[in-house]
């Protein structure tokens, strides 16, 4: 009985070892569904993620009140821009917007710019509308619809909440400097991106 079991186990093991099929995580053939496609799109797209992160860091640098305002202004504007994009999609390139966002927002974080809360809210509205519009256009072309956009905005809300709240709580001088260093890295990425845009043939 035992020997038969052992033989059967060997047969099954040999079968499994000899026939491994490639495994694809995240259901690459079927997708994750529109909402989670939106979530993963935002989390895996540095063109959107880094400007949002920079804005969250900037808002956090300016304190809890500014952080709270940006927490609702940026996702709200992103959603509004996204609906505009869904309604009136464009196929234009976002490279210029991405570069400007990186340079401007990263520079403000690196400089620890002492902006008034209204200015940070204004920046949130502009960045949110523009990036949201491009996201909405992409969603329309990919036929993900409004649910994909909701996934993006939900993730954005979480990112802004976590990043700005973290910065607000930082008290140690070195930790606040680390935030400025992160801003300088975003500027550096923006400068390289500018180089890629105008890359010599």
């Amino acid at each position: 009985m035992t020997s038969a079991l052992v033989r059967r186990a060997f047969a099954v093991a040999g079968f499994l070892l000899l026939l491994p099929a490639p495994s694809h995580a995240h259901l690459m053939n079927t997708g994750l569904g529109p909402f989670y496609d939106g979530v993963s799109h935002f989390a895996l797209t540095p063109e959107d993620l880094l400007p949002a992160l920079a804005l969250a860091l900037l808002a956090g640098q300016r304190g809890s009140r500014t952080g709270r305002l940006a927490l609702f202004a940026l996702p709200g504007a992103w959603l509004a821009g996204g609906f505009l994009g869904l309604a009136f999609p464009t196929i234009g390139s976002a490279m210029a917007l991405t570069t400007v966002s990186f340079l401007a927002l990263g520079g403000l974080v690196a400089a620890d710019a002492r902006l008034r809360p209204e200015w940070v809210v204004g920046l949130s509205l502009v960045v949110g509308l523009l990036h949201g519009y491009l996201n909405g256009s992409a969603m329309a072309l990919a036929k993900l619809g409004a649910l994909g956009l909701v996934g993006i905005v939900a993730t954005l809300f979480v990112v802004v909440a976590l990043a700005s709240a973290l910065v607000v709580t930082l008290r140690a001088p070195w930790a606040r400097i680390a935030v400025r260093v992160a801003g300088s890295w975003i500027v550096a990425i923006g400068l390289l991106l500018l180089g890629w845009t105008f890359r010599a043939a």
């Binding site: 035992t2 499994l16 690459m28 895996l44 890295w185 991106l193």
Partner: protein
């Protein structure tokens, strides 16, 4: 499995079966084919290539680590100002390289950066903050230009840049972390010896640049 083991399996019964089942499970778990977690393959390659590029040349690595070492010796605010200055100005140099703007004497500039930064660490040189930032920024342009001229086409520019900047920043952080030993007497001596090694390596790179 040998025949002796089979005999043992017969004797021990359920234990042998359990062992085999465990081996079977282990083999199944450890023998998968390739797994692609994120299927944007070309873009991931861009990030990894960017991460690898700054550490692919010893001349660059020594200069970036020595910026961190020097910053640690100088203390605040230089300890963060220099590592902020270097990546930003280096990225500017990289942008010029990407755009094809010519810069003469790049290899000589890189070698000189090793010599000067190594000597600064060796002598614990304390210039005014602005002068230290200008020196670091000046040499960063040469390093950035060299990188920018060498960047491969085809990869994702943005993810490549992210990897590139992160690797550069981590090299500075490594220098700063090593520079923490500056608070002890033996650490100060060790850092100065490291500065001498970096300056010597810079002299070697200079010789190679003219060879």
């Amino acid at each position: 499995m040998s025949s002796a083991s089979f005999r043992g399996a017969r004797r021990t019964g359920p234990r042998a079966v359990l062992l085999l089942r465990t081996a079977l499970t282990g083999a199944t778990v450890l023998w998968p084919a390739l797994a692609w977690a994120h299927v944007e393959k070309g873009r991931a390659e861009g990030f990894l290539a960017g991460l690898h590029h700054p550490i692919s040349g010893l001349d660059h690595v020594l200069a970036m680590v020595s910026v961190g070492l020097w910053g640690a010796q100088l203390g605040a605010p230089a300890v963060w100002l220099l590592p902020v200055t270097f990546p930003m100005v280096m990225a500017f140099g990289g942008m010029l390289g990407l755009m094809g703007v010519p810069l003469p004497g790049v290899e000589v500039g890189i070698a000189l950066s090793g010599i000067l930064l190594g000597l600064a660490v060796l002598s614990e040189w304390r210039p005014p903050l602005w002068a230290a930032a200008v020196i670091v920024g000046f040499f960063a342009i040469f390093h950035g230009h060299a990188h920018g001229s060498e960047l491969p086409p085809g990869a994702s520019g943005l993810l490549y840049s992210v990897g590139f900047v992160v690797a550069t920043g981590l090299l500075h952080a490594t220098g700063i972390a090593i520079g923490v030993i500056h608070r002890w007497g033996w650490g100060r001596v060790t850092l100065r010896v490291a500065g001498a090694v970096i300056a010597s390596a810079g002299a070697y790179f200079l010789w190679q640049a003219f060879a």
